[in-house]
């Protein structure tokens, strides 16, 4: 009994599925942001597991590319969280709500 790539990818898929459910089903803008963070996190897990188990590359040929990708994903996630939370604070200040079902200014 071993733990191999398929196990990690299954966990990653489960986390991504839960994240996409949260991002779509929740009414609160901040909860939606949490779902998006979960999805990014699941993608990081699959990056790292591919990097760890990859047999497609020679051993000396940039073995840590997946880790570098994860560093960039972390950077973008931090920037995205800051801007999204600033937007939600701004919307709350203007409309007194962060309820996404009631933020329908752009609806025809």
């Amino acid at each position: 009994m071993t733990v191999d790539l398929a196990h990690y990818l299954t966990v990653s898929g489960l986390l991504f599925g839960v994240g996409i459910s949260i991002a779509l089903a929740k009414r609160n803008a901040i909860a939606v942001l949490m779902g998006i963070e979960l999805m990014l996190n699941a993608v990081n897990l699959s990056f790292l597991s591919f990097s760890r188990f990859s047999g497609a590359f020679a051993i000396k040929d940039n073995p840590l590319d997946g880790h570098v990708f994860v560093v960039f994903v972390l950077t973008v996630a931090a920037a995205e969280a800051a801007v999204a939370l600033a937007l939600s604070v701004l919307i709350y200040r203007r409309r007194e709500t962060v309820d996404l079902d009631r933020i329908n200014l752009l609806r025809w």
């Binding site: 071993t2 733990v3 191999d4 790539l5 398929a6 196990h7 990690y8 990818l9 299954t10 966990v11 489960l14 986390l15 599925g17 839960v18 994240g19 996409i20 459910s21 949260i22 991002a23 779509l24 089903a25 929740k26 009414r27 901040i30 909860a31 942001l33 949490m34 979960l38 996190n41 990081n44 897990l45 790292l48 760890r52 188990f53 990859s54 047999g55 497609a56 051993i59 940039n62 073995p63 840590l64 590319d65 880790h67 560093v71 972390l74 950077t75 973008v76 931090a78 920037a79 995205e80 969280a81 800051a82 801007v83 939370l85 937007l87 701004l90 709350y92 200040r93 962060v98 309820d99």
Partner: protein
Amino acid sequence: MESLGIIVAFYLLSAIAVGGAIGVFLASDLIRALAFLVLSFVATAGLFLTLSGDFIAIAQILIYAGAIPVLIVFAVMLAPLAGRNNGNGLYLVPGLALGAAVAVTVAFVAVDVEWNELSGALLAERDFATTANAIGNALVGRYVLAFEIASVLLLAALIGAIVLVREDEAT
């Protein structure tokens, strides 16, 4: 990868990570949901450790389990009336269906495909003492352009967030 400790750690941490994510969905209070989110992120950092990604695991704890929850707590506390409710919206059923479909599809593909993966002795050959050196070399070597663009992105996000929420004191 064959040792018993890794296998136990994998199943335990996976259960905590997925359970924490489900807790984010089920919690009624947003602050409680945030606590479940942090639990899920810390467990995922443990999974990164079992993949011998030590630098990424520490960065994950610093950024995902440290910085982003602080930001979210600030945002929740700045919107006191509406901020706490973690209720479901109009798209509960489609959201759950799509999430289940994505999870089942990815799990099926992951199990079904014959991955060209390393195992056993070949995998042990790729064990790293530490990954920080190699990641640093790659960041300022092959990926230096992306590195610089990421720094510009962070600066733009910083200035943008400040400009967005700034009270206009002139009017």
